[in-house]
Amino acid sequence: MINKIVKTPAIAVNDIHDGATVMIGGFGEAGSPIELIHALIDQGAKNLTVVSNNTGSGNIGLAALIEHKRVKKMICSFPRTANSTVFPELYNAGEIELELVPQGTLAERIRAGGAGIPAFYTPASVNTPLAEGKESRVFNGVEFVLEYGIKADFALVKSAKADRYGNLLYHATARNFGPIMCTASKTAIVQSKSIVEAGEIDPETVVTPGIFVQRVVEITNPAHESELVANQMKYPW
């Protein structure tokens, strides 16, 4: 019987190796898989390349992973938040690399990685510093830039409902990067608010088909990032 359910976040992230590329879902707080990130901090893997839209808040979640110097390089669109100094300090100290990618290009590069598309052309960033050094090409009189698919060794993603096959439903705008990150990673690890029996999720409504998911762990009461930040929590606590 196919059963992708694992018991704890620690087991779920157990084999993330030093130097791995890890995609981490979330748009700010929404969809951020905090419990999986904390398990990864406990696990100790370092020299990670992290693909995530932001760089985390306060001193918990992704910001804590960065603060503990586990991240060699960030690939993201918006590495600034009002309430975190972790990334800026390391960046200005030259201790973390940054590949800045327009948000839509980041999303499309992840989707391409998952869809077996090695490269595609986009109009975003043409004539801006972010297109410097990149190949460009004119189609029908309009200039486009060549961008490459991104794949990862692992993805950490948060879902609302899952089953043993790895079929996923998300909640509201917590969906964001989750579905495409699952497709682009060899091992997609999902923390889900609930796990239900196979067949309880209507096949018409499945957002991430189970084929894209390798492990699911149930986290029924995930922490709220903004609450942890408001309480000035630091991980590990």
């Binding site: 748009f27 109009p123 975003a124 960033s125 509201a172 989750g178 495409i180």
Partner: protein, 220 residues
């Protein structure tokens, strides 16, 4: 000549209202973070606009009542929002397919600088220690059919933001259709910038002095 002691130009709410009036009924609209968000408060009676937020929601509604916030139902500025009846959620690649694919009618954005040709700079001053952060702005200006900019006419230090060539790193080249400032509404045309409307107690000479590039008047 502008008389002193009188209110000069529009306040933010009035600027937002001017933008709102120019968005046709039935449009799909993406509002940037900050002043652009205020546009939603001034949609003329009888018009229905649909708001897209690039983090995966079409049919964004009003700010939620206090105590009813859902921290995972947010807009691109990461503020809590609601949904209208008829909304839909989707993932980021689908969201930017809407944007890049030309399906959004209007995008309203803030600006650091706008050039005579409609070039927009709104993501970075290029300063050495600034952390560069671009978000979805480059995708929006590359894909949305009409880009409206809403901004103070000059910086807090009084430096013109509407200039011949942007000195800050560009967000996009030749992308802005119209600029809504506290002093005027200015259209970007092939043959230059044209003043469509001026705010209360603003005259053309005053406006020109606050602007870093030559302005034109319609019908002159």
């Amino acid at each position: 000549m502008v008389e002193t002691g009188k209110k000069i130009g529009w306040d933010r709410a009035e600027m937002a209202q001017k933008v709102a009036i120019d968005i046709p009924d039935g449009s799909y609209v993406n509002l940037g973070i900050g002043i652009p968000e205020m546009v939603a408060d001034f949609v003329p009676e009888g018009r229905e606009l649909i708001y897209q937020t690039e983090n995966g929601l079409l049919g964004m509604g009003k700010v939620p009542e206090e105590g009813k916030e859902d921290r995972e139902l947010v807009n691109a500025g990461k503020k809590c929002v609601t949904t209208i009846a008829g909304a839909s959620y989707f993932h980021h690649a689908d969201s930017f397919s809407m944007i890049r694919g030309g399906h959004i009618d209007v995008c309203v954005l803030g600006a650091m600088q706008v050039s005579e040709k409609g070039d927009l700079a709104n993501w970075s001053t290029g300063a050495k220690n600034a952390i560069p952060a671009v978000g979805g702005a480059m995708d929006l200006v590359a894909g949305v059919k009409r880009i409206f900019v809403i901004t103070q006419h000059v910086t807090k230090k009084g430096v013109p933001k509407i200039i011949e060539e942007c000195t800050f790193p560009l967000t996009g080249k030749q992308v802005v259709e119209s600029i809504y400032t506290d002093l005027a509404i200015i259209d970007v045309k092939k043959d230059g910038l044209f003043v469509r409307e001026m705010g209360p107690n603003v005259d053309f000479d005053y406006l020109q002095k606050q602007t870093g590039v030559e302005l034109n008047q319609y019908n002159k």
